[in-house]
Amino acid sequence: MSSKPKVAFFDFACCEGCQLQVANLEEEILVLAQMVDVVEFREVMTGAAPAYDIAFIEGSITRRADENRLKDIRNRSKLLVAYGQCAVSGGINKLKNRRPGMDEVKKEVYGDSAGMPHLDTYPTKAIDEIVAVDFYIPGCPVNREEFLWVVKELLLGKTPRLPNYPVCVNCKLQENACLFDFSIICLGPLARAGCGAVCPANGVACCACRGTVDNPNKNAMHEILLKYNYTVEEIKKKFDIFAVDPEVQSGKK
């Protein structure tokens, strides 16, 4: 038996885009494969193991059966990492929670098949609404360099600390034009950086897919919204896209 840390990847309700980011590490993943034993990773291999040093969980929980599977993984894992925004906050999957009931949601998506047993779904939950999470890697999708860095920190026995500064920092370093200069409301001043500001760099407003900084200045944002004739409701809708609640975000570092 190898003494290398046993690492496993699991997915729940998601697009699997985050594990694709990991698979796309290419050269680095070969080095990573020498440092750890990847014992389960459906996207790239077959196999199973009884216990894990680190379990990476992708996706949100949308079915009761998934809760048991997740709890079982937690029980067999020393460290559990929620990676990708679906796992971290519920992500886009949580949009349905704003609807009055699941029956309506199922009917809209599945039409006449809505009653099929495998389509049974309940309001979306983030991973930490079911089990304890040791570390979070936010983003939609995750930034693969950051993923690699977190793995490295964990292997070194360190506590990874995500950037606690807003996306504006990423934008300024790239000398991107500020979208506010074009009267476009961007969540950048509140959103957690680390993405390289890919959206604003391409003229698209930040939607805070990585959540907010620990201590976002909501009052300041409120003043800016008034200046640009936006309402609080409109901005809340922007935060809803990735199920980010600036009020409680500080708990997830």
């Binding site: 793995v151 490295k152 606690n164 500064y165 504006c168 900084v213």
Partner: protein, 356 residues
């Protein structure tokens, strides 16, 4: 040293020659040691609606008629991220400094940015000399230009004096079809060898008028000599809470500031744990974690305290240390602040209007 002139066409073709030159350099720097090296040539170019300093692919890209660049040229001397040294973990003798800057020419640096570089030069050479910064500076030629375009947040004439001439190697004044070329250093003179320089026939009065053509809309609302004491007396002014309440702590004001030089240093180790490097990155006193200590105490946890600290650095600490106002009046902070609160003119005006 001397004042000459060059036509704009000749200037551009000279820049391109230097950029692609393969002849041994007579320019500055001890890293060259006789090898043929091209001049990395940086100039002001357009990026979308803004201007930035960037490496030129052709002198035709140069936009010397600009208001302000997003980032100041400090990024070439103190890069946002740089490797200071490399090492093998657990092998102390393996530490090796990384520093191989080639010759670099910066073209079109406004006078306030030169004043800022002069202040940075002092900060990185006095006391603990920073070889990484100083090597890059030694291997650089700075070609300045007096602004030809108005920028609504600029107030440099109320805060800088002649100190920018201490950083510049060459100053240009744009005059119809020509640049008047003032050569200030040997470095500058060497760089210009081979350029089609002509005798200057513009009158000094005309040159002076062209150099000072652009007037600032804003100014520091009190004599700058009085600012340190004014700030000292107003340590508990309501302005700090007022502006702190509006501040996102996004650090835009600091990142775009030509005189902000705070940095963070950390070690990065390879995934294999067999090689590592010490990396220096820009940091910012406006960010929440800047003053966070190892055991969790943050000695500048409040936004107001951070906001005050930044203004104190510019108006008091640096002023007292170097004898120059720590802000050069470029106005970038005011222009880049989403909340519209970062400009020192605005802050000092507010403090004067709300006397405690």
């Amino acid at each position: 040293m001397e004042i000459l002139k060059i036509s704009k066409e000749d200037f551009n073709s000279f820049i391109d020659e230097k950029r692609t030159a393969s002849a041994p350099l007579e320019g500055p720097g001890d890293s060259i040691s006789g090898h043929a090296e091209k001049w990395k040539t940086i100039g002001v170019v357009k990026k979308g609606a803004n201007f930035v300093f960037a490496e030129l692919n052709s002198a035709a890209e140069l936009c010397l008629d600009y208001d302000v660049t997003v980032l100041p040229p400090k990024k070439y001397f103190l890069p946002p991220k740089e490797t200071l040294l490399k090492f093998i973990p657990k092998k102390a003798e393996s530490y090796a400094a990384v520093n191989h800057p080639g010759p670099i020419a910066l073209i079109g640096v406004h006078h306030y940015d030169l004043a800022a570089i002069h202040l940075m030069d002092r900060a990185f050479s006095e006391g603990e000399r920073d070889e990484h910064y100083m090597k890059r500076r030694e291997n650089s030629v700075l070609i300045g230009i007096y602004p030809t375009k108005h920028y609504k947040y600029r107030f440099s004439s109320s805060v800088i004096r002649g100190q920018f001439r201490k950083a510049a190697d060459i100053m240009l004044v744009a005059m119809n079809g020509f640049f008047v070329v003032e050569i200030l250093t040997e470095k500058g003179k060497n760089y210009l060898q081979g350029a089609e320089l002509q005798e200057n026939d513009f009158s000094l009065a005309d040159i002076e008028a062209a150099a000072n053509k652009i007037k600032d809309d804003q100014k520091i609302p009190l004599p700058i000599e009085l600012v340190p004491e004014f700030l000292e007396k107003n340590h508990d002014h309501s302005a700090w809470d007022y502006f702190g309440g509006k501040c996102f702590s996004c650090a835009s004001c600091v990142l775009v500031c030509p005189t902000c030089y705070c940095f963070d240093v950390r070690d990065e180790v390879d995934l294999t744990l067999e090689a590592g490097k010490r990396v220096r990155t820009w940091d910012s006193c406006m960010l929440e974690d800047f003053a966070l200590t190892g055991e969790g105490f943050n000695f500048r946890a409040g936004r107001g305290a951070r906001f005050r600290h930044r203004i104190y650095r510019k108006g008091k600490h640096l002023f007292e240390k170097y004898g120059y106002f720590g802000c050069v009046g470029c106005g970038r902070c005011a222009g880049s602040c989403t909340a519209g609160i970062a400009g020192p003119v605005k802050v000092l005006k507010y403090m004067l209007e709300h006397k405690q």
